[in-house]
Symmetry: C2
Subunit: 165 residues, 2 copies
């Protein structure tokens, strides 16, 4: 256990609790909005990854999302049923299912980005713009010090209630 700082000076709840409290709240209302689009958070992450580079295999994307192949099948099935994603054959290796966005998938992703921008506005409505920028700066420092990769959310993979994550 670290010995930095004076325990008496640390008020609970402190920054760690507040970040968790507000952060979980942020995720909850964001997922609520995604659900209204018929999407799970992992659907959105998958769509975004495909949009960055189309044609990758299910296994490659599953590895990046830390999802086992059997789960990937289900999520890709669902997105294909929704008409947002396509499995295409790879001529070089017929085992591989190359994933591509449909036009509708691109539209939805656009909608998701608009909703996320609005989510940002709603969540920071208690702050001035200067304060919001300040908050982003401080959180960025924390994220960097914690070794969190930019844009990579640690809560994508499933976490059983009693897990460590």
């Amino acid at each position: 256990m670290s010995e930095r700082g004076d325990p008496k000076k640390i008020v609970v709840p402190g920054a760690a609790f507040l970040m968790s409290q507000v952060g979980v709240h942020s995720g909850q209302i964001w997922r609520e909005r995604m659900k209204k689009l018929g999407l799970d958070s992992r659907h959105v992450v998958l769509l975004r990854l495909v949009s960055v580079e189309e044609g990758r295999s299910q296994l490659a994307l599953g590895t990046q999302m830390r999802l086992p192949p059997s789960r990937m099948v289900a999520f890709v099935d669902e997105l294909e049923d929704l008409g947002l994603l396509e499995r295409r054959p790879n001529p070089d290796d017929r085992r591989i299912r190359a994933l591509h966005l449909t036009d509708r998938g691109r539209e939805i992703l656009n909608t998701v980005m608009k909703i996320s921008a609005d989510h940002e506005t709603e969540l920071t409505k208690g702050l001035s713009e200067a304060e919001r920028v300040q908050l982003v700066g401080l959180l960025g420092k924390v994220a960097t010090a914690q070794g969190l990769a930019p844009g990579v959310h640690p809560g994508v993979a499933f976490q059983p209630p009693n897990s460590a994550g």
Copy 2:
């Protein structure tokens, strides 16, 4: 959808994503440490609630934690097996199981507070003390504006992956 702000100025990831990213990370490593004590996060919340006011019924505490009675039975069983909590009869109403901490329960709760204080230090190691205080202030403003009750974490109750929370 809100129309406040200029969408072009909102960079993604912004404050909302960062709060969720860092907040979930905070919760993950905190739960990891609790698990080393043999505790689930809900065990800890329950112990804390009992310590605030001993002798309350399972139903009262379950309502506060938004857990159904059947889940409360399981968690109280587990804490009783660990020797941290006691079910005592209520002479006025023999249906009620009054919950009390054991001495060992109080010790563990003390350990939990020490670990949480250390967790705070570790999580904010990228910040100066002034910055940490600033961050607490900004997050407090956000929490208030979002209507979050102080000290009440929104992630205590179970949330299925596809839920809105």
